[in-house]
Symmetry: none
Subunit: 235 residues, 2 copies
DNA sequence: ATTTCAAAATTGGTAAGACCAGTTGGTGAA
DNA sequence: TTCACCAACTGGTCTTACCAATTTTGAAAT
């Protein structure tokens, strides 16, 4: 029983038309698009429909709007993927701590290795700075050090010069940070151990030793994963 | 000179709030959300703002709306993400492609290895069936074989028994399926080569040889990534 | 009592008009 | 010339009204 074609609403049509204009180059990236009032007469529709279509473009990250100025077309990079990842992950059930760590292991053993090959001096400087911050925080402010720890890993991901890796990592990590806080407290021995790993990873990346970077990262993650899973803390 | 915080518009806020409701499970997938009139009083805002927020959700594919019925929360299928791909072509089309392949490599070299260790007989049966289907399709129906190819990779990801891997892979892969269709046409030699890799990967998983599974998968992906990037196919 | 079917109520879709809130640029005063 | 202020843009929001599709209701016919 073939249902009728679903009526396509006006904003939907406008959305498609605008998308076409962008793809065809009629609306160039970086340039401003006509004002809502103008679009209104141009498309022969109400402002409401225009605004809803623009909202859709905004939701996708193709459009950036500022009051008083207008809207400009943005270059839609891989950021959109990052925007959708959290949604995908939260809607799908069944995340155990172990699952998350397996993914993290897959991602980070690669980022460590790639970072060792692709890092430039600036990357190195950033990672080093974060590492130093971590070194002091780990003795004083546990909660802050968790954040810095994540930042350290993200810095490494950035050094791959593939924007997807930091995005992915942030998404994944948002699921575990809570646990880390509970786990790391009052465990000076473990803290020290983690710090040693961090230093080793940094060294390997500095020396562009991709294999060692990968294996140190693996050991680091495995050890912290084990610790947490053993303590039985589930998110 | 720190710019003021950009004013966040009402629809934007509503969008976030609604997203939270979805993620928190207050609005369940498959269920209808309250009508626009009700949301209007609930959030204490005008219907316009509500509608713009709903438009954003629609644009992301999390909401499906039908006149006279209302709106229901959709499970965000990874397919919709693939639809966005044509948007991220502009300047960095090939670079984006490369980035995606790097992530795929990170994920799949791990899934192959893990699958070799964790697969059970049922997994094996599924993979084998898909592989056989692929063998026949690759001679006859290219388009279908692209889908089956992806299915093969996802089967492997499933065999890790970590649900995050297939999810991740689907997301990533949905971006490239477009390209593959264009790329694989009329290239019997490459098709054969890909098939050989597939067989090898399967063998390794069957024999629970995790190291070989990893390396075969790596070679496979590298070779197909190279092919596509070299041919310079941009959508 | 059950079935049927048309009217009513409910849902989203669209329009028009008014006004608020930032930004820009021009114009007049210092 | 320089500075301050005031239009005239821009998007942001609300109200009201009405259209269109669907579902629900309830009364009439069986």
């Amino acid at each position: 029983m073939n249902k009728e074609q679903k009526r396509i609403s006006t904003p939907e049509i406008l959305f498609q038309k605008m998308l076409n204009r962008i793809q065809s180059g009629e609306w160039k990236i970086g340039n401003a698009i006509p004002s809502e009032r103008i679009l209104m007469v141009e498309f022969g529709t109400s402002r409401l429909a225009i605004r809803e279509a623009l909202s859709m473009l905004r939701a996708l990250g193709v459009l950036e709007t500022n009051q008083g100025q207008g809207s400009i077309i943005r270059n839609l990079d891989t950021e959109i993927i990052g925007r959708l990842f959290p949604l995908l992950f939260s809607l799908e059930g069944d995340k155990t701590l172990e699952h998350i760590y397996q993914v993290r292991l897959a991602i980070e053993s690669t980022t460590a290795s790639m970072a060792a090959l692709n890092r430039n001096e600036n990357d190195l400087k950033n990672i080093k700075k974060t590492l130093q911050l971590l070194r002091t925080q780990i003795e004083t402010d546990i909660e802050a050090s968790i954040k810095t720890d994540l930042e350290f890993h993200i810095q490494i991901a950035r050094a791959t010069h593939n924007p997807l890796f930091p995005l992915l990592l942030e998404t994944i990590a948002s699921f575990v940070s809570y646990v880390q806080i509970l786990s790391c407290k009052d465990n000076p021995q473990k803290k020290h151990k983690a710090m040693v790993y961090h230093e080793s990873i940094f060294e390997a990346i500095q020396n562009q030793d991709s294999e060692r970077a990968r294996s140190e990262m693996e050991s680091h993650l495995r050890s912290s994963a084990n610790r947490m899973i053993k303590t039985g803390i589930i998110i």
